[in-house]
């Protein structure tokens, strides 16, 4: 058989493509359940981090069940709507108009009985997406904890947002100033936001990522205003 003929080449290529496709499809299908589980566990870890509970892959599910006592979806008016909060794709929701968004709320009850409300955030950093979770006290104003993560920010610079050194600054900050929602700004050391919002220190050398965190929080939490105000009463 002539191995350089066109017929042989075409048949060879076709067979190769079919075989490779079959192998990949098999690998993808057989590993899928494990991968989905990993993604869910990772999400639980992140949610727990925002209420300052550290967990690892082995105990995240148990801790999540223990502390996250309720979760639901609300709309901009603060009314509950149908659906599973855990499955909401926050990345897709933040692109929608605030009126149409599904806003997940996770309720956490700590060991001392105190309840915290956790909200997801999603935004853009310098190189790719950044996301996180922020928890507030029952007054709907004071931040209890925050967690940030990123896909590909510069290590040592923008990537520092995932370190406690950055996220711990949020503890005790307030979303509202004199009854108006202002979010929490991220400012260069020594500077103050012009609108009077409370602020945390930015990461030096990671300005665009820091500003990304600021606008992510503003954009993601602003639709919760009515819900937060209703908590306050």
């Amino acid at each position: 058989m002539n191995k350089q003929s066109n017929g042989y080449t075409i048949i060879y290529a076709s067979v190769m493509v079919v075989v490779v496709a079959a192998v990949l499809a098999f690998a993808s299908l057989s590993l899928k359940p494990q991968q989905t589980k990993n993604v869910e566990i990772d999400k639980m870890k992140q949610i727990l981090s925002s209420v300052n509970i550290s967990s690892d892959a082995t105990n995240a599910q148990d801790l999540y069940k223990k502390y996250i006592v309720d979760s639901y979806i609300i709309d901009k008016q603060g009314d509950k709507i149908e659906g599973n909060a855990f499955d909401v794709d926050v990345a897709a929701q933040v692109k929608l108009d605030p009126d149409k968004r599904e806003l997940p709320v996770f309720v956490c009850r700590l060991d001392d009985g105190a309840e915290k409300y956790i909200f997801p955030m999603y935004g853009a950093g310098l190189w790719g997406p950044i996301w996180g979770y922020v928890s507030v006290d029952t007054d709907g104003d004071t931040i209890y904890g925050a967690f940030f993560a990123h896909q590909g920010e510069t290590p040592g610079l923008g990537a520092e947002i995932e370190k406690p050194m950055f996220s711990d600054q949020y503890q005790g900050k307030h979303f509202f100033v004199d009854g108006d929602f202002k979010s929490v700004a991220v400012e260069k050391k020594g500077q103050k936001p012009v609108n009077g919002a409370e602020y945390v220190d930015a990461i030096s050398g990671g300005t665009i990522t820091s500003k990304g965190v600021q606008s992510m929080m503003q954009n993601s939490i602003a639709p919760y205003q009515n819900f937060l105000k209703s908590l306050k009463k």
Binding site: K3, Q4, Y12, V23, Q35, N38, I41, D42, Q151, G156
Partner: protein, 207 residues
């Protein structure tokens, strides 16, 4: 167990024939994943696995591959293996796979792979090709780990994520060198390794 020739195939790439510091291949990923030791280590293992198996598969197929599409066949084999590695990491080493993110996919474009497949696997049997893949993978990995060691130590003061520079140093005014974390320092570190390597192996120096 190993004849002189196979020994040369396996061990040559570790020093005199190193893909990174002698042939200057695979520099792109050497810069990208060496800010920390852990991703560098996993990347080294992933590349070694992909390279060894791609070498074996291409070597087994070498007498059937039509010459006009041999590069395409090589790419398909490499791409398929890389996707499998990526899927396995996602399933069983999720944290590491998150850290490596796009770089696993970029193994496909690693020049070492195409170089070894084209230059070695197409003309040698599966066993030699396997050893060649392992040898070159380890040769690549060693450099990655050395570079990552210096970058993580000087850039973050940690090794494998554990703090090794004592807090007392920081109290005395020591600062982590942020420049070490940026890609240019990887290039300079690799250059320093090449410098040391060449001054110890005089026969590598060009006249």
């Amino acid at each position: 167990m190993l004849s002189k020739k196979t020994k040369q195939v396996l061990l040559g790439p570790l020093s005199k024939n190193n893909p990174v510091i002698v042939q200057i291949l695979g520099i792109c990923s050497a810069l990208a994943v060496t800010a920390k030791l852990e991703p560098a280590f996993v990347m080294a293992i992933s590349v070694t696995a992909v390279l060894a198996f791609a070498n074996v598969i291409i070597s087994l197929l070498r007498n059937t591959i039509p010459n006009s599409i041999r590069i395409i066949v090589q790419l398909v084999v490499v791409a398929a293996l890389v996707i499998i590695v990526d899927q396995v990491l996602k399933a069983y080493a999720y944290d590491v796979s998150k850290q490596l993110s796009v770089f696993v996919g970029l193994i496909i474009t690693n020049c070492i792979l195409m170089g070894r497949l084209e230059a070695f696997a197409l003309g040698n049997g599966p066993w030699e090709s396997f050893l060649d893949g392992v040898g070159n993978g380890i040769g690549y990995g060693i450099i990655l780990v050395i570079v990552a060691f210096f970058r993580e130590l000087l850039g973050s003061g940690t090794l494998f994520g554990y703090q090794v520079i004592p807090q007392a140093f920081y109290d005395w005014g020591y600062e982590n060198n942020g420049l070490m974390i940026l890609p240019p320092m990887a290039l300079i570190t690799v250059a320093c390794i090449i410098w040391v390597h060449r001054s110890r192996n005089k026969d590598l120096q060009e006249k």
